[in-house]
C-alpha cells in the first residue's frame, strides 16, 4: 500500500476524490485517505464510456471485502475512457491512488465548476478536522 500523500497539482472534492485538469479534460480518482478507509479494493464498478456524469453525483462504485462505496464526480462531463487496469486489478488504486490507479478520463462540460473544488491545502485542512 502507498504512503500517505496528496499531490499539490490536483483539485480535491470533499468526498475524497481528486481531479487532474488539463485542456478541458480531466482524470478522476480517489484520494489516499479514501483508499485507506476502504482497505484493499476488490471490485471497481465503472461507468459506461460515453456516459454523462454530474458533479457531486455518484458515477462509479469501489468495493473492499467489507464495504461498498459510491465514487463522487468532482466535476461534470462525459466519460471518455475507463481505466481497464483498475477493473482487472482494483488493488492498483491502493498501490498508486494518483498514478496507475486513476479511474476515468472525462471531457468537462462545466469547466468553471473547478473553481468550487478544494486545493491541496484546503483538502488537508478538511482531513485534519475529520
Amino acid at each position: 500500500m502507498a504512503a500517505e500523500s496528496y499531490p499539490d497539482d490536483l483539485r480535491y472534492h470533499p468526498e475524497h476524490d481528486w481531479a487532474r485538469i488539463e485542456d478541458g479534460e480531466a482524470t478522476f480518482g480517489i484520494t489516499w485517505f479514501a483508499q485507506d478507509s476502504l482497505g484493499e479494493l476488490v471490485h471497481f464498478e465503472p461507468p459506461e464510456e460515453g456516459a454523462t456524469i454530474s458533479a457531486g453525483q455518484s458515477y462509479a462504485e469501489v468495493e473492499s471485502v467489507k464495504a461498498v462505496s459510491d465514487v463522487i464526480a468532482p466535476l461534470s462531463g462525459e466519460v471518455l475512457e475507463v481505466n481497464r487496469a483498475v477493473v482487472d486489478a482494483p488493488e492498483t488504486v491502493n498501490d498508486e491512488p494518483y498514478g496507475a490507479g486513476w479511474l476515468v478520463r472525462v471531457r468537462l462540460t462545466e469547466p468553471a465548476e473547478a473553481d468550487g473544488l478544494l486545493d491541496v491545502e484546503a483538502y488537508k485542512r478538511q482531513l485534519a478536522e475529520e
Partner: protein
C-alpha cells in the same frame, strides 16, 4: 449512546494498530494488517482471533444433561467427557434461537459457548426452563477466548494433535488454558479458553510464536468460504434447521423443543433451501440483495482464495442443486451467479 464492552485484549488491539468497530455491543478488531492478508495467513499458516466477546454458559447438576437434551437439537449421548458437539438451541416452531458448541466436562457438567449477540437471550431461555436439579450460570466474564486457526496452528503452539471436537487442559508457555479443538474457519486449529486475567499474556505468547493477529473481517470471509452459517444472517429464530442444511445436527428421533415442526419440514421437504453460490459476472453479493429467481442473499463477500464474489442465500428448493443459475440484484444491476457444492472453498480443489 451505548457504551461498548471491551475484551481483556483491548489494549493489545490498540497497540497492534487494529481498526476497531462495534460488534454485538463490543468494541472489536475488524482488521490489523488487512482482511485479505489475514485471511491468507489462516489458510496457509496460522492466525489468532480474539473471540472473547462470545458467551460462556455453564449448566451443572444431576439433571443438567436431561435439561440440555430437552432444549438442544443434537444428541448429547453421542459424546462423552472431553468431547464437544455443534448443536442448536431451538424454539417451539423449530426456529433457531442460537447455534452453539456444547462441551461435556463431566457427565453432569457442561459448558456452552454461544454467540456474543445471543448471550443474554440464551441465558434467559435456559434459566426459564431450568429443572430443580440443574443450575445455569453465565460465566462469560471469567474467561477470554483466543482462536488459533490454520494448518500450522498446533505446530506453532507446540500442542499435540488431537481429534476435532475434543478438549483438554493444556499449558502454553506456562499459561494454563483449556484447549478446544474447535473453530470457525474450516482449518485445523484450537480455541483457547483462558482466565481473563491471563488472557493478554497468552495472546502475547501466541503472537511471539509467529501467529498472525486476525480480525473479525477475516473471520467472516473464512467462515463464508467454508459455508458455516452465521446466526443473524443464515439462521435465526424465524428459520429452521432443515431449510438451512443443518438437519445433520438435529436428532429427529429424540424429543426436544420444536422437533415436531422439524419432522414435518423434513418429511414434506423444505420450500426453500440455503445454497452457496459463486458470481459468474463481476460484482460482490451482499446480505439482503434479492435473488431474481426467488429468495435473497444472507451473506456475501469477496473470496480472498478464489478471488471472486461468493455468497450464501435462500432459493426455491428446486434451484438448490449445484449448477443452477441465479441472478443477483447488485444495487440495480442483474448479475449472474451459479449454485455450487458446499464448501465453496476447500484446499483439495485449488
Amino acid at each position: 449512546m451505548q457504551t461498548l464492552l471491551r475484551t481483556p485484549l483491548y489494549d493489545r488491539h490498540l497497540a497492534l494498530g487494529a481498526r476497531l468497530v462495534p460488534f454485538a455491543g463490543w468494541e472489536m478488531p475488524v482488521q490489523y494488517e488487512g482482511v485479505i492478508p489475514e485471511h491468507r495467513a489462516v489458510r496457509t499458516d496460522a492466525g489468532a482471533f480474539d473471540v472473547s466477546h462470545m458467551g460462556e454458559l455453564e449448566v451443572e447438576g444431576p439433571r443438567a444433561r436431561e435439561l440440555l437434551q430437552s432444549l438442544l437439537s443434537n444428541d448429547l449421548d453421542r459424546i462423552g467427557p472431553g468431547q464437544a458437539q455443534y448443536t442448536l438451541l431451538t424454539n417451539e416452531q423449530g426456529g433457531i434461537v442460537d447455534d452453539l458448541i456444547v462441551y461435556e466436562r463431566e457427565p453432569d457438567r457442561f459448558l456452552l459457548i454461544v454467540n456474543a449477540s445471543n448471550r443474554e437471550p440464551d441465558f434467559e431461555w435456559l434459566r426459564e426452563r431450568e429443572l430443580p436439579e440443574s443450575e445455569v450460570r453465565d460465566v462469560s466474564d471469567d474467561h477470554a477466548l483466543i482462536a488459533v486457526q490454520g494448518p500450522r496452528a498446533l505446530e506453532r503452539l507446540g500442542l499435540p494433535e488431537a481429534p476435532a471436537f475434543t478438549f483438554a487442559g493444556g499449558v502454553i508457555d506456562g499459561i494454563e488454558c483449556v484447549v478446544n479443538r474447535t473453530g470457525y474457519t474450516g482449518e485445523e486449529g484450537v480455541e483457547l479458553l483462558v482466565d481473563s486475567e491471563r488472557a493478554a499474556e497468552l495472546w502475547d505468547r501466541v503472537l511471539d510464536r509467529g501467529v498472525a493477529p486476525c480480525g473479525l473481517g477475516a473471520r467472516d470471509t473464512l467462515r463464508l468460504e467454508v459455508c458455516y452459517p452465521l446466526h443473524g444472517n443464515e439462521i435465526s429464530p424465524e428459520t429452521d434447521a432443515i431449510s438451512a442444511g443443518l438437519g445433520w445436527v438435529c436428532a429427529l428421533d429424540r424429543q426436544f423443543t420444536g422437533v415436531d415442526p422439524l419432522r414435518r419440514i423434513k418429511e414434506n421437504g423444505p420450500e426453500r433451501r440455503l445454497v452457496a453460490f459463486v458470481m459468474d459476472e463481476g460484482g460482490i453479493p451482499r446480505q439482503g440483495m434479492a435473488i431474481a429467481e426467488g429468495g435473497e442473499v444472507t451473506s456475501g463477500s469477496h473470496s480472498p482464495m478464489l478471488e471472486v464474489g461468493i455468497g450464501l442465500g435462500y432459493v426455491p428448493a428446486e434451484l438448490a442443486q449445484p449448477g443452477s443459475e441465479l441472478t443477483i440484484d447488485v444495487r440495480g444491476r442483474a448479475r449472474r451467479a451459479r449454485v455450487v457444492k458446499k464448501p465453496i472453498y476447500s484446499r483439495e480443489e485449488t
